[in-house]
Symmetry: C2
Subunit: 368 residues, 2 copies
């Protein structure tokens, strides 16, 4: 009996192993490499990537590991699309508008001048047609895209001299790229493309008149306040810049369904957290900058209006020549206008009242 | 040899079973029940709960199932805290301010009059002290809390007559609860507590003068536009109402770490999605309401200012009597004021410019 029972137990052991097998098969060990386009110093963006990777690891009990790499570590910062497309790396974390040169359509997945703010962009991506349209667009790049972060409305950058009229834009040598640079060029500015490490010196020497980067928290670390006195707002070209997780389509397709759900959920968590980090850290940074003598300035309405006109001319031109752009842009703009008509009613009027009671107008107009 | 090898294989089988055992132990079958405080018709909120449960199921390959129940199905809508606290259900999905009567401190986890908007609330919860303070607060209720959804700034409700001065508030019978009701009572209104199903008839008969609910998308379904002509904004008492996932502390502690990470990530995804749903669906609903003759009205500044004063008086009183409130409120308000000083600079000025070009002021002031 005892031997028989031993045999039965052994058989049960084998059976248990058989039952366990699917569970093991469903939980494979996977390692991915993910390259950012950003340097380590941009700890809000890098931090969101790290949070994402940590949550994926925790959710799979360490079986799915994604190593996050700052721009340049394993892939040049702006080679992320190529590397993900070719499968050199399984994923990347980048601002799509960096790839404006490949196709301006990329910009609609981050920010375009006078586009949507962060919340409106979420609504378009998640509940409007945004994500569907971009999933289709990225097929040509062998990429599966997931929104993973937003900076919120950015600052309009650092200027050595005040910008009072359109004349002050003429000949302005500003470090700014993509669509914003193209629109500013229409107004007479001379957009410059300089490696990040050279901007400070160029501003100091005066070979550069202005630069833009993100907002108080990121800008402060680069020390631009020491070489340019005037800090302008808003960045009409970035009312909210979305960052994406790009996944090689083959790598995505090979993931078990449970890992796909884990990736989507962890990216969703990181998406909100990045914006929260920016929002939480910007106020103190702004106060410190003002404490060093930084002068806050709103862009004059005349310049905003001229930029609005120039931007729309650019969009009209693209609508005629780029069908990929046209298809997504038309949906984007229809959604944006709808959002603004609604936000204007209760969201903005709530915000405006709060600003009015917390920062009475006289104090506010003194400040900026 | 063959028998030996058989024995070796059998031993290997047992070893495999042993190795597999932890994987099986880490992936237990779990079933939770989650009760909402909302009816099925509030499909934005219910939908976020369902998305959460679906993602948890997908991420665990169906091993962790959470059944979502509309308010009343398994627990009365406002018994969610008690039921989660006692462990009758493992989790609930509710608006904390419904439990204002237990302790007004709950309201700080949803919305208070003149509080933070949705994005500012996220920043406070995730990157400020909000989540930490509330994790501590909820210990007394045996609850582990996770933010899971926000409505955005709500509408100020439906009124049978125009509200032009503070005199129009005196004696106003309005269906409104919690803090907002208390503040309105200070201004002379008579807050009413009526079951949802009776509000329409009471408004029609005129035994009720006004009611508030959420915003265009939810309000339209209740048909208030047919019995009250004036639709006011903003709900100064709800600049962004957060919804929470409440988990029984014991149930949370018993979850394996990987399931905890899955719950947190899926809740993070659902958090953003709920707001996106509201933002995406409100504009068309508002258009339809206006199409039926609804008249949009902004609350007069005199009423907003009086409510602001009355709200702050309430807060001062609570600071003196409720140490739990005081501790969280002081942190909340400091963070709010900081957020508003920053949002005022670039976020609001971007939004304001966009509203100006999309809805030129004359058209806008005609509309409401």
């Amino acid at each position: 009996m005892q031997r028989r029972s031993f045999m039965k137990n052994a058989a049960a052991g084998v059976a248990a192993a058989t039952i366990a097998a699917p569970a093991i098969a469903q939980a494979p060990q996977i390692r991915w490499r993910c390259s950012s386009s950003f340097p380590k110093t941009v700890d809000t963006i890098i931090g969101a990537g790290e949070l994402f990777a940590r949550k994926v690891s925790e959710a799979t009990d360490g079986r799915f590991q994604i190593s996050m790499h700052a721009g340049g570590e394993i892939t040049p910062p702006f080679a992320v699309v190529d590397a993900v497309q070719q499968g050199t790396i399984e994923c990347g974390h980048t601002a799509p508008y960096y790839f404006f040169g490949k196709d301006p359509t990329f910009a609609l997945d981050t920010a375009i001048p006078f586009g949507m703010n962060a919340r409106q962009m979420n609504a378009w991506q998640i509940e409007g047609n945004g994500l569907t349209l971009f999933r289709e667009f990225y097929k040509a790049y062998n990429i599966y895209n997931i929104p993973m972060g937003n900076t919120g409305a950015q600052m309009g950058g650092w200027y050595r001299k005040e910008i009072k009229t359109l004349n002050d834009i003429k000949g302005l040598k500003m470090r700014i790229g993509g669509f914003a640079g193209a629109v500013l060029a229409k107004l007479g500015a001379v957009p410059q493309s300089l490696p990040g490490g050279e901007v400070y010196q160029a501003l100091e020497k005066g070979t550069l008149d202005a630069t833009e980067w993100v907002g108080p928290y990121d800008d402060e670390k680069l020390g631009f306040n020491k070489v340019a006195k005037f800090y302008y707002y808003p960045a009409w070209w970035e009312g909210g810049a979305q960052i994406d997780l790009y996944i090689n389509q083959g790598a995505w397709d090979k993931l078990p369904k449970d890992y796909q759900a884990i990736v989507e959920s962890a990216a969703g968590l990181a998406h909100t957290n990045m914006l929260a980090r920016y929002d939480a850290r910007n106020p103190a940074a702004l106060r410190r900058l003002i404490g060093t003598g930084t002068q806050m300035r709103a862009f004059p309405t005349s310049i905003m209006a001229a930029a609005w006109k120039a931007a729309n001319e650019s969009y009209d031109e693209l609508n005629k020549t780029n069908p990929r752009w046209k298809k997504i842009y038309e949906d984007y703009v229809r959604f944006r206008d709808d959002q603004i008509r609604w936000f204007r009613v209760t969201e903005n009027s709530f915000d405006d009242f709060m600003a009015e009671v917390i920062i009475p107008r006289r104090a506010s107009s003194k400040k900026g």
